[in-house]
C-alpha cells in the first residue's frame, strides 16, 4: 500500500501527463486488496477480476478529473464496492446485500509459521476464531489489518460510523484473544 504522498504523486502524474507507468504502479499497489474486497461481495474471483479491471478502466477514462478526488484510496474502494454490487444486481443474485452477507477471505495468519512460536493447536484455534468472525467484523478487521486503512477510511467505504469501526475491531481482537486464552488455560491444565 503506497504512502499517501506517493499516491497523490501517482494521481497527479496520471491526471496531468497520461503517465502509464504511474497508472501501472497504482494498479500494482491496489490490485490485490481491491480484488479481495470485491470478492467479499461477488464471491467469485473471476467476476472480481472484471470488477477491479472496470474500476481501473474508469480511473483511466476519467483521469482528467482525478485531481478532484481527495482520497484516491477511499475512492478506489468505494468504486469497487459499487461496481461489485452492480455486478451482483446484474446477475440478479441479490436484490440487496448488507455487510452481514459478505464472505470475507482473510490472508492466512500463518503464512510464515516459523516466525511465531505457536503450537499447531493454537494456530488452529486462532484460525477458527478468525474464520468465525461475523462478516461485518471480519471485513473491518481485514481492511485495517491487511490493507492498512484508517478507521475513518473504513467508515467512509462501508458507510458506517467511526465508532462502529472502532467497536468492531475491538470485538474481532477480543474474540481472537479469547481463543488464545482458552487454549492457554487448557495448556496449563494439562
Amino acid at each position: 500500500m503506497p504512502l499517501t504522498p506517493s499516491l497523490d504523486e501517482l494521481k497527479r502524474r496520471i491526471a496531468l501527463y497520461d503517465d502509464e507507468s504511474a497508472y501501472k504502479e497504482l494498479f500494482f499497489a491496489f490490485h490485490r486488496p481491491l480484488l479481495q474486497f470485491s470478492y467479499s461481495f461477488v464471491q467469485s474471483y473471476e467476476v472480481a477480476e472484471e470488477v477491479v479491471s472496470d474500476v481501473f478502466m474508469a480511473i483511466w477514462e476519467r483521469r482528467r478529473q482525478l485531481e478532484e478526488i481527495k482520497n484516491l484510496r477511499v475512492y478506489l474502494y468505494i468504486c469497487t464496492k459499487n461496481a461489485s454490487l452492480k455486478s451482483l444486481l446484474k446477475q440478479q443474485k441479490h436484490i440487496s446485500i448488507t455487510l452481514d452477507d459478505l464472505k470475507v477471505e482473510l490472508e492466512s495468519p500463518h503464512n510464515n509459521p516459523e516466525q511465531l512460536l505457536l503450537t499447531a493447536e493454537m494456530r488452529n484455534r486462532i484460525q477458527q476464531a478468525v474464520d468465525h468472525l461475523p462478516p461485518r467484523c471480519k471485513i473491518i478487521f481485514k481492511l485495517i489489518k491487511e490493507d492498512g486503512l484508517k478507521y475513518r477510511e473504513v467508515a467512509e467505504i462501508l458507510n458506517l460510523s467511526v465508532k462502529t469501526v472502532d467497536n468492531q475491531l475491538a470485538t474481532a481482537l477480543r474474540k481472537i484473544g479469547n481463543a488464545i486464552n482458552i487454549d492457554l488455560r487448557k495448556a496449563i491444565r494439562f
Binding site: 477480476e49 478502466m57 495468519p109 503464512n111 484508517k150 488464545i180
Partner: protein, 383 residues
C-alpha cells in the same frame, strides 16, 4: 468492563489510531490484567506479520489482462493496442521533444517511442465551410444510378461515389478499385474491392450483397459499413456502422464473424510478420492476434467514428504512428513520403483534417511536434 476497553485500545494501537493518553491507559490496564499478556503479545505478533506480497509476475499477468480488456472496449491507454497488433515490440530510449510553439499548461508534449506513454497530440483545426463540389472528386464517374460500369476506380488524391442499380451507394477512397460481378443484382450482388470503400447497402434479403477482398469475404443484407483493404496496409479492417455483416476470413473458411454495430474486425494481412509475437510469453497467442474484433474509434468531442470519417471528407486518425498516417496521406494527397529521421515514424498522432491542402496539413502537424519537411514534386521528405 476493563477487558473490553483493553481490546478497544489494542485495536487503536495496532492500527496507529491511538493517542498518547490512550497508549498510557492501555499500559496501565495491562498491568492490572497479566492474564491477557500472552494473547495480547500473540495478537500483536500476528498483526505485524506481513503476508507474502503477490508476486510481481502475478500482478503483471493481471495487468496485461486488464490492458487487453481495455483494448477490447476500445479504450486506448497507449499505442500498445495498435502496435501489438501490427509489429513486433521494439524498445527504444525516450526522447523528449518539447514544442515551443504550442505550449499547453500541464501538458508535456512528447514524442514517444513504443513503450512509454502516449500523449495524443490533439490537432484542432479551423473548421472551414466545406465546398462540397470540390471535395469529392468524381473522377469521371457520374453519380447516377444508371448503367453500371464493370468497375469503378480512383487514383491517389481522388475519391468518388456511385449509386448502384439496386439503390446501394458506394464511396470509394483514394487509390481503390471496385469490380462488379457479372449479373450484379440478379441472384447476388457481388463486388470485389481493392483499397477502401464505404458501403450503404440497400436492404434486400433475397439478394445478398457480397464483397470480396484479398483476405476476406463479407456478406450483408442491408447495412452501412466501411471496408479497408489496401494491399500495402498491414491489416484489413471491416467497420460496421449499423446493421449486421458476416465476415469469413479466407485463411480460416470455417469460422464466421458476425459484427455488431460499432465493431470492427481487424485481420492481419501478412502472416509472416506474426511470427515475432511468439517471443513474448505474456502476449496473446498468435492466432488471437491475427484476427481481432474492436470497437470503432471516436475522437474526443466527436460523435462520428474515425473509420468512416473520410466519407465526410475528413482525414482523421487516432493514436496512429506518423509512418501509418503518412500512408493515408500518400493516398489522400497523391504523394510519397520519405522519412529521413526514423524517430519521426514513431511519433503518435491523433487529429483530423478538413479539406486542408497538403502543406496546410503538414504545417498543422508541425504545431504538434517538431519536424521539418520539403516537398519535391510529389515526394514529401520528412526530417
Amino acid at each position: 468492563m476493563s477487558a473490553d476497553r483493553i481490546w478497544e485500545l489494542m485495536g487503536r494501537k495496532l492500527s496507529n489510531e491511538a493517542s498518547a493518553e490512550e497508549l498510557q491507559e492501555l499500559d496501565h490496564l495491562l498491568r492490572v490484567h497479566p492474564d491477557l499478556h500472552f494473547s495480547i503479545q500473540t495478537i500483536t505478533d500476528l498483526w505485524q506479520q506481513k503476508d507474502d506480497d503477490e508476486s510481481s509476475d502475478q500482478l503483471q499477468t493481471a495487468y496485461d489482462q486488464h490492458l487487453r480488456r481495455m483494448r477490447e472496449k476500445g479504450i486506448s491507454i497507449n499505442k500498445e493496442s495498435y502496435q501489438e497488433l501490427h509489429e513486433p515490440v521494439t524498445v527504444e530510449a525516450d526522447w523528449d521533444m518539447e514544442t515551443p510553439r504550442r505550449p499547453r499548461r500541464n501538458f508535456k508534449i512528447r514524442a514517444i517511442s513504443l513503450t512509454t506513454l502516449l500523449l495524443a497530440v490533439a490537432a484542432w483545426f479551423v473548421w472551414r465551410p466545406s465546398n462540397t463540389g470540390k471535395s469529392i472528386a468524381t473522377n469521371g464517374v457520374a453519380d447516377t444510378g444508371g448503367v453500371l460500369p464493370s468497375e469503378i476506380s480512383t487514383n491517389y488524391g481522388t475519391r468518388t461515389t456511385q449509386v448502384l442499380p439496386d439503390g446501394s451507394r458506394v464511396w470509394l477512397n483514394a487509390g481503390s478499385k471496385l469490380v462488379f460481378g457479372k449479373n450484379f443484382g440478379e441472384n447476388l450482388r457481388e463486388v470485389t474491392l481493392t483499397g477502401e470503400a464505404f458501403f450503404d447497402v440497400a436492404k434486400n434479403p433475397d439478394i445478398p450483397f457480397v464483397i470480396h477482398t484479398n483476405t476476406l469475404d463479407i456478406r450483408v443484407l442491408g447495412t452501412q459499413f466501411n471496408v479497408k483493404s489496401y494491399p500495402t496496409d498491414k491489416t484489413t479492417e471491416t467497420s460496421l456502422i449499423r446493421g449486421s455483416v458476416e465476415v469469413v476470413v479466407k485463411k480460416r473458411p470455417n469460422e464466421k464473424y458476425v459484427l455488431k454495430p460499432n465493431e470492427k474486425l481487424v485481420v492481419l494481412n501478412d502472416q509472416e510478420s506474426t511470427q515475432h509475437w511468439g517471443n513474448g510469453a505474456d502476449l496473446l497467442p498468435v492466432k488471437e492476434n491475427l484476427i481481432a474484433i474492436k470497437n470503432l474509434t471516436y475522437q474526443q468531442g466527436d460523435t462520428s467514428d474515425i473509420e468512416s470519417a473520410w466519407v465526410r471528407n475528413k482525414l482523421s486518425v487516432k493514436d496512429m504512428p506518423f509512418s501509418e498516417m503518412a500512408k493515408i496521406m500518400e493516398r489522400w494527397y497523391d504523394v510519397r513520403f520519405e522519412f529521413r529521421n526514423k524517430k519521426l515514424e514513431e511519433v503518435w498522432i491523433t487529429g483530423s483534417f478538413d479539406n486542408e491542402t497538403l502543406s496546410q496539413a503538414l504545417e498543422a502537424l508541425q504545431f504538434s511536434f517538431a519536424f521539418n519537411y520539403e516537398i519535391n514534386d510529389k515526394t514529401v521528405i520528412v526530417y
